[in-house]
Amino acid sequence: MEITPELVGYLEKLGRIRLTPEEEERTQKELGSILAYIDKLGELDTAGVEPLSHAFGRTNVVREDAVLNGDMQDLILANAAETKDGAILVPKTVE
């Protein structure tokens, strides 16, 4: 898999990250060598193997439908950069 500058740009967009031109160049090389190594996985014969997302056997773990939490607005807002009337403020969202 070849890493192009366009792909680096796309991955920056997906991750909401902006790199400097030098960082982009470096990242293109580094991701290139990492992916070249990772692409080795393509050699592994996995025909007919069921993908294993959850390895460790527990199923049907649920909790009861009960309200246990009260108002903890202070704690929730304590780490926010900007708040007003109990709400968190962010720049205007696109209508």
Partner: protein
């Protein structure tokens, strides 16, 4: 007892002198806090030192006297990795992104430490968001290996391992996603246990890769690790991936007999790229068990060749999702003067995250993005199934599997930062274990020619911490 004498005690010894009343929890906490203040400038193993630890220890002394607190480690101080949430205490994950984050709640393990009457000394340094093998990517600067200036302590739990090696904590908690407890324990010459996935609640552990992350103890020896493991393990309603498991029986560990046990050695663990000294020390350790009646057999595990690709695909995929919540909105770093939402996102994340974190986020986005999902992420989940099968088969034959923890001893500082792939390849011996959720322990087994510690890795069956701790304890008894 003098401070020096207190600092020399193992955690279980310290617990017993506190229980007897010859040393108070307060004296123990004071000895450690003073030592940290005097010595940690050299190592940078702590991000935060809890000044109120001494006050907390006084309260615990009262609890011990009144009989209210009665646990095997009551009164013993402990250091906690800085990605484990502590209510009211900075939990930075070694990142600028969380350099102002004060959690509104305690992680389940922290609650358990408190209930067991343990005193939190401070929060230990780590690779940013646990992404790294050297503790050099921390926003708070690198941690130094106490065994050799200019050497890294390993990572990502470098602070938790280095503070143990420097005698600045009697016990610590780390987290292990691909070797982050075992490898720094190995580099720093201490004992580190990565428990079976699910035995210790992840609630309050800031997620790196959710299906791989596991909290575990780092101690002076296997017995101390077992004591702390017993305190932090157990099913948790707040973590639905957690499971009930038996507590480890300390008597069985202390009297563990290796004779008749079967040890499997994957040949691939001793292949190319493994340092000569590491190979020699680990082989000697294996011989130790053989001489005491264990049988040793080499076997092939070719799937090991695919361990690193599989691991980095899964880990980075989960990480890019887990780290998306750091967007400058609710907590954490938010730059000044943002004028629109996209700007807020991009600047918070670009300025808040370091390069290694960004690299893994980009890699994760790549393997999950449409068009690549099947070739990478899904393929990795298939490989995971094959890795699980390989271990299932191995454990039909062997009681434990052994090998080195890392191909080398501690690297020089700066060495791996320049080449991320090289750093990733150093995880070859540890990552497989996380992919399948097995328990594994890292114990010191001698030094290399530069006098840097080498670590032996003992891997067990799911939920069989007792056997690997038993092997480790029998080695440490000599």
């Amino acid at each position: 007892m003098t401070n020096e004498e207190i600092l020399r005690l193992s955690a279980s010894e310290l617990a017993s002198v506190i229980r007897e009343g010859s040393v108070s929890s307060e004296e123990a906490a004071r000895a450690y806090i003073e030592a940290i203040k005097a010595e940690d400038g050299k190592y940078n193993s702590y991000v935060t030192v809890c000044d109120d630890a001494i006050e907390e220890a006084k309260r615990i002394d009262e609890g011990i006297r009144s009989g209210e607190i009665d646990s095997p480690l009551a009164g013993v101080p402990v250091a906690v990795k800085d990605n484990i949430c502590t209510k009211g205490i900075l939990t930075s994950c070694g990142s600028r992104m969380l350099s102002n984050f004060i959690p509104p709640y305690d992680a389940t393990v922290v609650r358990k430490l408190k209930e067991a009457g343990m005193v939190i000394l401070g929060k230990t340094n780590m690779d940013e968001f646990a992404m790294g093998s050297t503790t050099e990517t921390s926003f708070y600067g690198p941690t130094v290996n106490p065994h050799g200036t200019g050497k890294v302590p390993g990572g990502s739990s470098g602070g938790s391992a280095a503070c143990m090696a420097a005698g600045l904590a009697p016990l610590s908690l780390g987290s292990d996603t691909g070797g982050s407890i075992r490898q720094p324990a190995s580099f720093c010459g201490v004992t580190g246990l990565k428990p079976t996935y699910g035995t210790v609640s992840r609630y309050g552990l800031v997620a790196f890769a959710s299906s791989l992350d596991q909290i575990g103890p780092i101690g002076k020896n296997a017995e101390d690790c077992a004591l702390l493991f017993n305190i932090i393990s157990g099913v948790d309603d707040r973590d639905q991936s957690s499971t009930e498991s038996d507590k480890v029986d300390l008597d069985k560990i202390k009297n563990f007999d290796v004779s008749g046990k079967k040890i499997g050695i994957p040949e691939e663990y001793f292949g190319e790229g493994i340092d000569e000294d590491v190979r020699a020390r680990v082989s000697e350790a294996v011989r130790f068990f053989e001489e005491r009646g264990a049988t040793v057999e080499k076997f092939k595990m070719p799937i090991i060749d695919y361990a690193i690709p599989t691991y980095y695909i899964i880990a980075c995929a989960e990480a890019c999702s887990n780290l998306s919540r750091y967007d400058g909105v609710k907590y954490g770093f938010r730059p000044e003067g943002v004028d629109n939402l996209m700007d807020l996102y991009i600047r918070s994340r670009s300025e808040g995250f370091g390069m290694e974190v960004k690299r893994r986020i980009m890699l994760g986005n790549f393997v999950l993005s449409s068009g690549y999902y099947d070739a990478y992420y899904n393929k990795a989940l298939q490989a995971k199934a094959l890795i699980k099968k390989a271990f299932d088969e191995a454990f039909e034959k062997y009681d434990v599997v052994m090998g080195p923890v890392a191909p080398t001893t501690a690297l020089n500082m700066g060495e791996s930062l320049s080449d991320p792939l090289k750093m990733y390849l150093g995880d070859i011996c540890t990552v497989l274990i996380n992919i399948v959720g097995l328990p594994a322990i890292s114990i010191p087994c001698g030094n290399d020619s530069n006098n840097m510690p080498v670590g032996l890795q003992i891997i067990g069956r799911h939920y069989d911490e007792e056997t690997i701790l038993g092997f480790a304890a029998s080695y440490q008894r000599g």
